[in-house]
């Protein structure tokens, strides 16, 4: 199993390096490795990688499974 850092590097492409994406990818891999609830990991993946948001509301919804609507 590769470590978080190398998994993060896999994210890098030939253009401008996206350090944030590297960290987020490594972070999600570490959560999976630590067997954190897969639903939490999936929700974080959607927020951080797909929707590219780090807003408190989105992360709260992802981590605590709380309804993000106000």
């Amino acid at each position: 199993m590769s470590d978080g850092k190398s998994q993060g590097k896999e994210q890098a492409h030939e253009g401008v390096r996206d350090v944030s994406a590297e960290v987020f990818t490594a972070f999600l891999a570490a959560l999976e490795r630590d067997q954190v609830d897969p639903m939490v990991v999936q929700r974080l993946r959607v927020a951080l990688i797909q929707e590219k948001t780090v807003s408190e509301r989105a992360l709260r919804a992802a981590v605590l499974a709380e309804d993000p609507s106000p």
Partner: protein
């Protein structure tokens, strides 16, 4: 991946109408201060990003791009102010290069006109818009070096686009902390529910045995099946009323008396002297905060800014990047930095607030406990017919609920203080209600043992359900809190690990670049770039004496070099192959001539895929760029002068031979002579420096051409001879032949130039050149040109130099090869050891 082809600047800053042809290559703009160089830099930055760094940030005051970007005479017609940039870029297919024209008007900085309209081109521009660091001035460069670790961290984080990482860390930490905070009231609630159950069971401490003993005794009395063992899902009221839904219709006297006793305890707790004193202290602290207008303003604004940040973050994800209050468009990073700075200023008040809030939390816990007991007694009072007491207690319970909510909200401070003033002073009617309840419960007739047993089991079952419910809520919250904590800890660990890795790579690259520039004097240079929360410390080696901050011992020139190297290392790391251009605005003004040459070599050799646009006020630096082949002769311009009306007056920087020939074409012998003389003065000093030619030292540095060039010729001839001898010693016949030919050619052109005759023949001095005919001077120029070329490598065109520049010479080097000048050591006779 973009390279700059041409730029046309119209009515922009100090420029009226200027076109520069970069041709996708490195390019230099040379001119004295105030000739318009930085206007070109501003124009490039504006065309690419819509911003002008010099008109933003600290000290820029009320200056703005829209208002002060147009030429001063065009303030009334800013629509004429624009920059048009032609670039070459490669999109998805890196091999296919396309042309793109970007026109940006000052009246609409955020709406560039891109032609042709091409998704890849627009995407490429969008990418660059996010990288204003492609334009670097000295002011920006020193931010990487001469700054506090926290400020450096900010700069580097901004360059590496790490703002998101800090935001995510802060938010995840906040989420974990808030998840922890939820646990406390839930624990309190569970604890109260357990106490209530224990009172129903009439046991001081819970054990499964005590529980079963109490329950089974009652069930046996009712003829119900007893439980052999405890189970978490046990329903103690099972079987009562033939399995029909059970409801509590009677009050069990002793149970009710125990509950009212607990209520009296809670009432006593809420009014005891230490608790009252504690409340008074907290209230005084809150009133102190409330009376400090600065604190109130700060605390109110803190909440306002924190909310603003939260709304903004939510909006950014939906593509709206504007102030949530006034809808003004903002750059997300700038807006966050703006609000974060304001929040930082309020940190002192926020800390005071948090300390007071923690004390208020303990008060809330006690009130919640009382609320639970009140709720238990209210139902019993109603069932026992004490309707007045039930109503009064119910109102008190609701009041406690409201007080808990008001204290939790904390704001407004006046309300919080007012609530604290009454929490320890329940109405007199409450004590009366308690007395009434007690009286009512005492007067309850003793029920039969069967009724008592039945009520006991129903009450216990109810309270078990309450405990289960409280436990379930607590457990769910505990799981969430544990996950939230694990998430933030994993995030911090991963983030630190990745960043430490990245900073390690940047550090290694920084060291390599700096050593390349300072290989003469700091070839063992090392550095340490160590990140910690919110800071990035930089320490550098000082000649093996230890590691210190860059400003501690290194000169200003060395610090500038460090800034440039750190910038280049970061850019190489961040942009990788996409680091295709950078604008360096007079960034090396403090670096001495010797090291600038090395800088030029580093830029050329280590960043072959990057197009550098450089500005300088120093002609010698421009000459170094040319001799190091960083720029070609046609890739530079001179800004000779500047006026408000004309903008920069430009002279294309042709090479000396073209300039001299242009003069001769106009019969301007004197002009051609001056061109040649100035160039040879520069060249002779450069050659003596590169070839380490011994010359008589002049403290004022004012060397005559005749003192230098005639000595460079025999010195180079001797170096070629040594290189040939060394090649021979290594058995490299082809090299020997090639060097032999080169030596002969050099000898021939040197003789033709007559330079070596300089000390003994004044007729060949440059003073006499002015008296020559055009044809005669042209022959002199051709001879000097041939000599200049003979000092250079045929393959790469670079002037040869001796390496190392200090200590024992080892090789004769150019941009493409290194020729040893020290022969191979012969194997000596075998020496017999002496015993």
């Amino acid at each position: 991946v973009i390279s700059l082809e041409t730029v046309r600047i119209q009515e922009f800053r100090g420029i009226r109408d200027l076109t520069l042809d970069f041709r996708g290559r490195n390019f230099a703009i040379c001119g004295n201060n105030g000739t318009g160089k930085s206007g070109v830099v501003d124009a490039l930055e504006f065309a690419l990003t819509g911003k002008i760094s010099r008109l933003a940030g600290e000290g820029s005051g009320s200056v703005s791009v829209r208002e002060h970007g147009p030429h001063v005479d065009m303030r009334e017609t800013p629509d004429k102010a624009k920059v048009t940039l032609e670039v070459t870029y490669s999109g998805a297919d890196a091999r296919a290069k396309k042309k793109l024209t970007i026109t940006r008007h000052l009246k609409a900085p955020t709406k560039p006109v891109v032609s042709p309209k091409d998704a890849d081109g627009t995407a490429a521009l969008k990418e660059i818009e996010g990288h204003p660091e492609l334009v670097l001035s000295r002011r920006q460069l020193i931010r990487y070096v001469l700054t506090s670790p926290a400020e450096r961290s900010k700069q580097v984080q901004a360059l590496l686009r790490l703002e998101q990482l800090d935001q995510a860390r802060a938010h995840l930490l906040k989420i974990a902390n808030s998840a922890d905070r939820v646990l406390l009231p839930l624990e309190d609630s569970l604890s109260s529910a357990k106490s209530t159950l224990l009172r129903a069971l009439d046991i001081p401490e819970y054990t499964n045995e005590a529980f079963l003993q109490g329950v089974n005794a009652k069930r046996a009395l009712l003829g119900l099946k007893v439980f052999a063992e405890f189970s978490p899902t046990l329903s103690v009221a099972d079987g009562i009323d033939g399995g029909q839904a059970v409801s509590r219709t009677v009050v069990e006297k002793r149970q009710a008396l125990r509950d009212v006793s607990a209520l009296k305890d809670a009432l006593r707790d809420a009014t005891e002297a230490p608790f009252v004193a504690e409340i008074q202290e907290i209230k005084a602290q809150i009133e102190e905060l409330a009376q400090d207008p600065v604190a109130v303003e700060s605390l109110n604004r803190e909440a306002f800014y924190a909310n603003g940040l939260s709304f903004f973050d939510a909006d950014v994800t939906t593509g709206i990047a504007g102030c949530p209050l006034c809808d003004v468009k903002w750059d997300p990073a700038a807006f966050r930095a703006h609000l974060t700075e304001k929040l930082g200023q309020m940190r002192a008040f926020a800390d005071r607030r948090r300390k007071v809030e923690a004390r208020v939390g303990a008060v809330i816990a006690r009130l919640r406990k009382a609320r639970q007991v009140v709720g238990t007694v209210v139902g019993q009072a109603r069932s026992a017919g004490a309707m007045g007491a039930s109503t009064a207690l119910n109102e008190w319970g609701e009041r406690l609920e409201r007080q808990c909510m008001e204290l939790s909200e904390f704001f407004p401070l006046a309300r919080c203080a007012a609530t604290l003033a009454i929490v320890a002073t329940p109405d007199d009617c409450i004590e009366e209600a308690v007395v009434e309840c007690e009286r009512a419960f005492v007067s309850i007739p003793e029920a039969t043992e069967q009724d008592k047993a039945r009520t006991f089991l129903i009450v216990v079952q109810e309270r078990i359900a309450a405990v289960r419910d409280a436990r379930e809520k607590r457990d769910r919250a505990t799981v969430k809190a544990a996950i939230a904590r694990q998430v933030v800890e994993t995030y911090s660990k991963t983030c630190d690990s990745v960043l430490v890795g990245i900073y390690g790579e940047v550090q290694a690259e920084f060291e390599t670049l700096y050593r390349a520039i300072h290989h003469h004097d700091e070839k063992a240079f090392t550095a340490e770039l160590s990140p910690s929360t919110g800071a990035l410390d930089l320490k550098v080696d000082f000649y093996g004496r230890g590691r210190f901050p860059p400003a501690a011992y290194h000169s200003e020139g060395h610090q500038d070099g460090m800034g440039l190297c750190l910038y280049l290392a970061l850019m190489k790391h961040l942009q990788g192959p996409a680091f295709t251009f950078a604008v360096l605005d007079d960034v090396l003004m403090s670096i001495d001539a010797g090291h600038r040459r090395e800088v030029a070599a580093v830029l050329r050799q280590r960043f072959p895929g990057t197009q550098f646009i450089l500005t300088t006020h120093d002609k010698q630096w421009l000459a170094h760029m040319k001799t190091e082949k960083l720029i070609s002769n046609r890739s530079s311009v001179h800004f000779q002068r500047w006026t408000v009306g004309t903008g920069p007056v430009m002279a294309t920087d042709r090479d000396v031979w073209q300039e001299a020939e242009a003069c001769l074409q106009k019969d301007d012998v004197k002009g051609a002579a001056v061109e040649l003389r100035h160039f040879l003065e520069y060249l002779s000093a450069e050659l003596c420096g590169r070839l380490r030619v011994p010359v008589e030292f002049r403290p004022d540095g004012q060397y005559q051409l005749g003192e230098l060039l005639p000595k460079a010729i025999p010195a180079f001839r001797e170096l070629l001879r040594k290189a040939k001898a060394a090649a021979n010693s290594y058995g490299k016949r082809e090299e020997v032949d090639r060097l032999g030919a080169q030596e002969q050619n050099f000898h021939a052109v040197a003789v033709a130039s007559q330079v070596e005759m300089w000390p003994v023949n004044t007729a060949i001095h440059y003073n006499s050149w002015e008296n020559l005919t055009v044809g005669e001077l042209r022959r002199v120029i051709e001879a000097q040109k041939a000599l200049t070329i003979a000092f250079s490598c045929v393959a790469c065109g670079e002037l040869y130099r001796v390496v190392p520049a200090y200590e024992t010479p080892e090789v004769l080097a150019c941009g493409c090869t290194s020729l040893p000048i020290v022969p191979k050591k012969k194997a000596g006779p075998v020496v017999q050891p002496v015993h």
